[in-house]
Amino acid sequence: MTARQKSLPALGELELELLELLWRTGDVDVTESHAVIGKRRGISPNTVGSALERLFKKGLASRTKVSHAYRYTARIAADEFAARRVLDAAGGIQFLANTGLLSAFVDLVADVDDAALDRLETLIAEKRGERGGG
């Protein structure tokens, strides 16, 4: 499972421009990204590839291998990214949760794995069965 981050990772100008390209085009590979952004900036395809890889590592892009090249897509919607930036600027979500001034239905950092959740679902189904059976 990808590690969760409490705030948006810091992005360089190139990464941000590539992310905007992903939102516009849906998916791109290194060559296509270099043709649109890299050539204009006068940077090599390797630099563009490294920036795309950083977006992937920061959890903002996903990638699938097609032939010998990765194709990248955005993992976060443009409006959600903008919303996250505003919230990060406010910066108080976690602090408010810790002080009890914000109470959420479920916990995003719950220390519970899929196996435990499976067990709980089985238990709920059993109880439903008992109730249904009278």
Binding site: M1, T2, L8, V86, L87, G92, I93, F105, L108, D114
Partner: protein, 323 residues
């Protein structure tokens, strides 16, 4: 009044509240199996009572201890003229200097009070700015009086203390999570009805009168008790605890696969909450709020009635602590 006398009073307060904190939390931990037989709402009331106890008892004991100084009762040392080898909380000894141990004890309490007050003040400021940002993010999107945030994963939460607001994400309103919307909203509205955020704010201040480790444990216990009480209320209104439990599990699973979630909260305990929801054993809904308030008043009355003894007792404790 000299600074030494103020230090002595602070040390006496610290001794009272910290011993009450240690005793009450030990009792709470010791009787946790008995506590489990109570309804979730009753458990939340008891934990809240334990949180407030050192503050209430500390105020009562300190008022009684200072009764001779305030002229409400006659001090034992002015009547018996005996030589007491302990510090005195009276006019005759107002210029006495406390020992370093007592100064340190008093300073710990004052420092914790200042830190807590600063934390609560800062949370007020943060609450204001964050709530404003959240409202702006909704861009007027509302459904049945609930503001809708533009996030695709399912989540709902309440922000604020005096006038808390309910927010849900667009993901929770999607077709995929439609069956969980009602239990989630009932849970969050139960928080609003029960004034849980306000209780947490009051508790946050009152926890300054607890021992440092105990304060953190009680804060978590109270948070969990509030969640369970809201779960129980949602289950009762739906007449279907399994549906609330299923919503908890499904939404927790959905959160686990969100790599970059804006609303990263902590504190709830899914396994314990589901187990409590599915536990069909009958539970007692006592003690009620009135019984707890009556108990606290009785305690205060007992302390006030024995003001002379309490005053002397506090002085003896100060003598023992001061070496």
């Amino acid at each position: 009044m000299s600074w030494g006398f103020v230090c002595l009073c602070a040390a006496a307060s610290a001794a009272t509240v910290y011993s009450t904190s240690a005793l009450s939390s030990a009792l709470l931990a010791g009787f946790r199996h008995q506590l489990d037989r109570l309804s979730a709402a009753a458990q939340a009331r008891v934990v809240f009572g334990v949180v407030l106890l050192p503050l209430v008892l500390g105020a009562a004991v300190m008022t009684a201890a200072l009764a001779p100084y305030l002229g409400w009762i006659i001090d034992h040392c002015t009547v018996t003229h005996e030589v007491h080898a302990h510090p005195h909380l009276c006019h005759a000894h107002v210029m006495q200097l406390p020992t370093w141990t007592l100064i340190a004890l008093g300073l710990v309490l004052l420092l914790r009070l200042v830190v807590r007050a600063a934390r609560v003040s800062w949370s007020g400021v943060t609450m204001f700015t964050t709530e404003r940002s959240l409202v702006r993010l909704c861009r007027g999107a509302e459904r049945d009086g609930t503001r809708v945030l533009p996030f695709e994963y399912p989540q709902a939460f309440v922000v604020g203390a005096l006038r808390p607001r309910l927010f849900v994400t667009r993901g929770l309103l999607s077709e995929e999570h439609r069956e969980h919307l009602q239990p989630v909203l009932l849970h969050e509205r139960a928080h609003l009805r029960r004034h849980d955020p306000l209780r947490r704010l009051v508790a946050s201040l009152a926890l300054a009168f607890h021992l440092p480790g105990v304060a953190g444990w009680l804060e978590r216990t109270l948070g969990r008790a509030h969640e369970m009480a809201a779960d129980a209320e949602a289950a009762r209104e739906l007449g279907n605890p399994e549906r609330v439990a299923q919503a908890l599990v499904t939404l927790t699973r959905a959160q686990r696969h969100v790599p970059l979630a804006a609303l990263a909260f902590g504190g709830s305990d899914v396994e314990a909450r589901v187990a409590t929801l599915l536990d069909r054993r009958p539970r007692f809904d006592h003690p009620g709020t009135l019984a707890l308030v009556a108990g606290a008043l009785l305690l205060v009355a007992l302390v006030a009635r024995s003001a002379g003894a309490v005053h002397h007792g506090v002085e003896i404790v100060l003598g023992l602590l001061g070496g």
